[in-house]
Chain length 191, copies 2
DNA sequence: CCCTAGTGTGTACATCAGTACAGTCTTTTC
DNA sequence: GAAAAGACTGTACTGATGTACACACTAGGG
């Protein structure tokens, strides 16, 4: 009658390890072909664990993608926060597009999977939308809203092309495009 | 001994109907959760047909995505070919980004699925790469290579954002961004 | 009009996946 | 140190899925 006796998990951090393993499996196999068993094996965890911690595979994937979005958002914001001038801000955007930290091949694969999956899972759709807004917010540290919106499109689209193109990123071209947008896109019509 | 006697299928066009049905199923359910049976039902075709015409599900999906890429490429090129001046070319790019013809919600869903799947299927990767090059080629009708590359990123990235944002496209902003790139991105460094 | 060769189909099967749950282990309290 | 309560696991089960293949159908030729 001492109230709840145990509230501490035997293996703390287990949940996160499962989520990381899930992302590994998704990156390697795609969401189609991702199974409880593959994730359990990767995480060195018994199969039963997955149904214990998660409410089915959809829930597990949703939480894994949420974790991914979090990590990427942090990186996105950190990259922009380091910039101390307008010039450095432009350079930061170029870094986001060309890497090497952000938008690695694995990242892009996962992002593709997430976007595809988001169209069939409301929770992941919400996560994705939130991520978009956080990116906008980070860009707002240095750029007016309209410019930020256009730049975010670049950060989104360019690595996608690179993923399939296989050509190394042309930093000069990216920098020129970023600069063209920063200097050439006017403020909202109201001004 | 009359050589091959029959070379005409009993039901010509059946294959294409299956591929169209496959795209419908993918758009509605996602590649994960796409099954032979769902496609067969949608196409009003017996299950055995699918293994008769296609070499497994991967092959079917690959051909379905190839069909999608073809259709989209045609539309992309047609839109740009209509433009008769530099100004009209810019407007055409804005149309590609904002619709209504190109990049509908269904299109975007399918494109996401295709990109995700391409990372796990070499044939679809090739299809995707080819599509990218065809887009570049179409843009080359009006723009120098560097500008075309940057514009293509916009055509790719902007509808993606719109898909999740749910906000109607801001044509003025898109037009301004396109214009900024066309006028602000210099030719290759060699010049 | 029947025969043939190629087109197409219904069904059955082996496999695998998601999930539930009876049972085991671990930690805490007294 | 033992008992209890919650944390965790091994396994079994149901259903669905990809695929093969023996069979039926259709269209020409003689």
């Amino acid at each position: 009658m001492t109230g709840t006796r145990r509230e501490v998990p035997n293996d703390p951090g287990r949940k996160d390890r499962i989520l990381d393993a899930a992302l590994d499996v998704i990156a390697e196999w795609g969401v189609h072909r991702t199974t409880h068993r593959k994730i359990a094996e990767r995480a060195r965890v018994p199969l039963g664990s997955l149904t214990y911690y998660f409410d089915g595979l959809d829930d597990l994937l949703a939480q894994a993608f949420a974790r991914l979005a979090d990590t990427m958002s942090e990186l996105y914001r950190a990259t922009l926060q380091k910039a101390a001038s307008a010039q450095e801000a432009e350079a930061a955007v170029v870094d986001l597009i060309c890497g090497p930290a952000y938008a690695t091949a694995r990242d892009m694969t996962l992002i593709f999977e997430m976007y595809a999956y988001a169209n069939h899972n409301p929770a992941v759709a919400t996560t994705t939308r939130a991520w978009l807004h956080r990116s906008r917010g980070s860009l707002a540290l240095h750029f007016p809203p309209h410019v930020g919106q256009a730049l975010d499109v670049l950060v989104e689209g360019w690595p996608m092309h690179r993923t399939f193109d296989r050509t190394p990123p042309d930093r000069a071209l990216v920098a020129a495009t970023v600069h063209a947008i920063v200097t050439g896109v006017p403020s909202p019509s109201g001004t």
